[in-house]
């Protein structure tokens, strides 16, 4: 008993000491002056946060864009978790920024906070994925629905409009998944001879996608085509087809193009049609938010895929593949970030 309480005492003392030291330390570096002269706009950037490499590239581009525009970027880390991101939107609103750039994690759930921000006159730019309502300033995204159409059409044509299609789903409930599916379905329902074999949802996980696809392939069905929702699903699908030595591999469609998907496709002579779903779009998001903050009118919707550098990626793929960069680089990131900046992100081999 006594030994224990002595111990606890020492822990508590240690804890208090560390706390005091931290307080003292941090007290020194607290204040920062407000720059005079022209108004510095503040943009709250509510990111997907530290969850995956796509988000990391998106964040890097956003902070570079903010510097270029001379705006103050306040970063909110969604930690890849919709329940954690939700309250952050409201705290961001409480800080009264000039604009909010939101990368929605829970597209549907974010509806409420976005409406509250709009009602307080804060401009909200949705980046890369939409919400359920129409009440926002601007939506910057490749139009997944329409962008998926040419890919699905390419795939259907490659399949000669018949046979089994191996489908690996995304994250159920996720807005991107939903809009993507809409585009895919709008094409496929034209072809009743194409049988969609749904192998399950990969929840944007490569290893789940690979395991699901491997099982589906092992069932003995022959596939004339394959479709994956999300770059992870496509990667897992490709790995499964490669490892099962399916030769020739069926044509594959789906987003989003990474350097790695291109590498796999070229190395294994696979036909892959993919979509640029570029993390670089945050540059457009920040610029749009900056313009909106300044009071300029901005378009309600900016379709990234319409911009010349972001079109669909159809074979041949050689011209997109950059062997000097790592698998994690999304096609197009190198068009915004310099090699040094890419190096800092582990993206240069």
């Amino acid at each position: 008993m006594s030994r224990q309480s002595v111990r606890r005492g020492s822990w508590e003392t240690g804890f208090a000491a560390v706390a005091a030291a931290l307080l003292a330390l941090t007290a020194c570096g607290g204040s920062s002056g407000t720059p005079g002269g022209t108004k510095t706009y503040t943009i709250a950037f509510i990111s997907q946060g530290t969850s995956n490499s796509w988000a990391a590239q998106l964040d890097a581009v956003a902070s570079k864009a903010a510097k270029a525009d001379g705006v103050k970027l306040v970063y909110f880390n969604g930690q890849g978790d919709a329940t954690k991101q939700l309250p952050e939107i409201d705290t961001a609103i409480a800080q009264k920024p000039d604009a909010i750039v939101l990368v929605p994690l829970g597209g549907a759930a974010d509806t409420g906070p976005v409406e509250r921000a709009m009602s307080q006159g804060i401009k909200v730019v949705l980046c890369d994925s939409t919400i359920t309502s129409q009440n926002y300033t601007s939506l910057v995204t490749p139009h997944a629905e329409t962008a998926a159409v040419p890919l699905a059409q390419w795939l259907a044509d490659k399949m000669n409009h018949q046979g089994n299609l191996l489908y690996i789903g995304g994250l159920p409930g996720n807005t991107t998944t939903i809009t993507y599916d809409q585009g895919f379905n709008s094409v496929m329902q034209k072809y009743p001879s194409i049988h969609i074999i749904n192998a399950g949802n990969a929840n944007y996980s490569i290893s789940t996608a690979k395991q699901l696809a491997a099982t589906a392939i092992a069932s003995g069905k022959t596939f004339t085509g394959a479709w994956g929702v999300g770059g992870e699903a496509v990667t897992g699908l490709m790995q499964a087809l490669i490892d099962a030595k399916v030769n020739p591999a069926p044509p594959i469609g789906g987003a989003a193009a990474t350097n790695g998907i291109l590498r796999l496709a070229i190395q294994n002579k696979m036909e892959v049609a993919s979509l640029q779903f570029p993390p670089t779009s945050s540059q457009v998001c920040i610029d749009t938010a900056y313009k909106a903050a300044k009071g300029e009118t901005v378009p309600k919707s900016i379709n990234i895929s319409d911009l010349p550098q972001y079109g669909p990626i159809l074979p041949p793929l050689d011209k997109y593949y950059k062997p000097q960069f790592s698998d994690d680089m999304y096609v197009g990131t190198d068009s915004v970030l310099t090699v040094d900046e890419l190096k800092a992100l582990n993206l240069v081999k």
Binding site: S53, G200, L345
Partner: protein
């Protein structure tokens, strides 16, 4: 005459039918059906069905219950699978199942060791992620470091395990919380180190572990089964196994016969970490691509597999062989539902229900009663 409620009738009947001084029969059959402390008046029919199954199983001799039933149940499951989804038995599919089983089996073996010393390890997924990240980063530029990276993976797994074990045994931290905190630390460390972009390669030299093998049996499965055999033998016959069970059932008694409970606990967590690292390596080899969330579902799956296989949470109860069968059962369910081309959401429901039923049945066989 007032119609009798069915359970009421039963209990009245049995009071007369089985005078207590005759002996021999289990009294719980007599009084079990109308326990006044029961929180709810249960539907008599369900209860009756339950108990008739229970008493049928109970009447079987212990040896049949011990060995026959698991084997019988497995055969039954195998037969059901053959009818529901014959595609399961295609060599190609069996090959895939074996590849995936090697991973789940290994994690489950580790989890069993921890469960046996009345712990739980929720950091196996994080260790698997760490293993993949280590391999990917160290082999980013050249593949000469493959072996070094594998050794490092194992060391990381061992390190996480040792920390878990020390927290649990020296600071009495609940295992659930300790390993949860450890998960946050490991994942956090991965994030800090990679800045969110792992950007490496799984070396091709590693891949045959999971992809190649003898016939349709991949090397990874052989590794898993070899380790499984060692664990089974050491737990049932080895003195280490005795110390594990002793610590799990009564740490105080174990301590008093000179067993270092700290050492036993730490070793169990360490082995679990090492097995998880091995599973991470094998899964990396199987997936062949950098997926930093590779260990995602293995925490809960390994626990479920162990419990379905009869390993209990209270410690000291259950066998690794049972857990391996549990893992096989779980994987079969997952595989069959995937093959079934059911709606993926219906698959979730089926998986949940099958798991609950399997565990209930296990309890039924073991305790012979639901009362």
């Amino acid at each position: 005459m007032k119609p009798l409620d069915r359970t009421e009738a039963r209990s009245q009947l049995s009071t007369f039918a089985a005078p207590p001084n005759q002996g021999g029969r289990e009294p719980r059959n007599v009084s079990g059906s109308s326990s006044p402390r029961n929180p709810v008046r249960t539907a008599g029919v369900v209860r009756l069905a339950y108990e008739s199954v229970a008493s049928t199983l109970l009447r079987l001799p212990p040896t049949v219950r011990g060995y026959g039933l698991p084997i019988g149940t497995s055969l039954l499951v195998a037969a059901v699978v053959a009818v529901v989804e014959p595609g399961f038995y295609r060599p190609a599919n069996l090959h895939v199942v074996m590849q995936q089983y090697a991973v789940l089996g290994l994690v489950t073996l580790g989890q069993v060791l921890v469960l046996l010393v009345s712990g739980i390890d929720l950091s196996v997924g994080a260790v698997m992620n760490a293993a993949l990240i280590t391999i990917a980063l160290m082999n980013h530029y050249n593949e000469n470091l493959l072996l070094v990276s594998l050794v490092l993976c194992i060391l990381i797994g061992a390190g996480v395990g040792v920390t878990n074990g020390l927290l649990v045994s020296l600071r009495d931290v609940p295992p659930f919380a300790a390993t949860l905190g450890m998960t946050a630390c490991v994942q956090g460390a991965i994030l800090v180190y990679t800045k969110g972009i792992p950007a490496g390669n799984i070396p091709t030299a590693l891949r045959p572990i999971a992809l190649d093998g003898i016939g349709i049996v991949p090397y990874s499965l052989l590794i898993c089964l070899a380790i499984g055999l060692v664990v089974i033998v050491f737990l049932s016959r080895g003195s280490y196994g005795r110390t594990i069970y002793a610590v799990g059932r009564s740490a105080e008694v174990a301590r008093r016969v000179g067993i270092s409970t700290t050492a036993v606990r730490v070793s169990a967590y360490t082995l679990c970490g090492v097995f998880a690292a091995l599973a991470g390596i094998i899964l990396s080899a199987y997936v062949g691509y950098v997926d930093p969330a590779i260990g995602g579902t293995y925490n809960l799956q390994s626990i479920a597999a162990a419990v379905v296989g009869g390993v209990s949470f209270i410690g000291g109860e259950g066998k690794p062989a049972g857990a391996l069968i549990g893992a096989l059962f779980l994987l079969t369910v997952l595989n069959v539902t995937t093959l079934s081309s059911l709606n993926p959401f219906t698959q979730l429901i089926v998986q949940g229900v099958v798991m609950l039923v399997a565990v209930s049945l296990f309890h039924l066989i073991k305790r012979g009663s639901f009362a």
